[in-house]
Symmetry: C2
Subunit: 120 residues, 2 copies
DNA sequence: AACAAGTATAGAGTATGGTTTATACTTGAT
DNA sequence: ATCAAGTATAAACCATACTCTATACTTGTT
């Protein structure tokens, strides 16, 4: 698919997608057979990948962290152990974040009780 | 306590704390009885409040969102119903974020399996 | 053939969330 | 008394993550 379709399917603007592509989060490929342009084609699987990027961003991961993760993941030269280590580290960070979210949530639920009791 | 202690207890730099204070996330108070300076005193309860701000930031909430939440919460002029509505809305956002984190986590755990199977 | 709409690239501009620097005053230990 | 360390304020500076503008080329429709 072309960038316009990827944009529509992911909900990210064409500008943002190009920014991500330049940042190195993914790559579109120009069709070698077509000489008249260098329009880039984006693979079906990129939709899911972009959604992952979106989700990771929304929960506070930076583009740099996301890039490191994806780089490790798809890098053929890394050993299986090293790859697993990278991804596992991210899973642990996620668990920390889930914990933090639950803390904030608890704080807010307590606050609601206080408000109901007129304590604030 | 003075800003230095607040900084040490929360792990945020003095600069960042001042930035947050100017942003309106909390207020220190100058001691009226002391005329020679206008050093600000920060209440014990601010430690917890700042930790909440830190936690909320780490899971992707912006300062603007955090401010809105705190403003609603401590605003005496808002009705109890309105306050609860504001805080409840944030609890729902948190639930969404927890859900997103679990999605990303699942994605990564799948990735680990793929790596173990040599599928990538 | 003409022209609106899509694509690519580069670069400027913007918002957020800080960090750093400069200046000036205060405090506390020696 | 002095002087390092702490505090306050303001402003400049910076990184991140976009967002917009300008330019140029391509495509598809009429």
């Amino acid at each position: 698919m072309l960038i316009n379709e990827l944009s529509k399917r992911t909900g990210l603007s064409i500008h943002t997608l190009r920014y991500y592509e330049n940042y190195g989060l993914f790559k579109g490929v120009s069709d070698e057979k077509v000489k008249s342009n260098n329009y880039k084609n984006y693979d079906e699987s990129l939709v899911e990948k972009v959604e992952l990027i979106k989700g990771a961003k929304e929960v506070g991961f930076t583009l740099s962290e996301i890039k490191k993760l994806l780089d490790g993941w798809y890098n053929k030269r890394l050993s299986v152990e090293k790859k697993i280590e990278i991804v596992n580290a991210k899973v642990n960070e996620i668990d920390t974040k889930i914990h933090q979210l639950k803390q904030v949530r608890k704080f807010l639920v307590e606050a609601i009780k206080d408000i109901e009791n007129g304590d604030c």
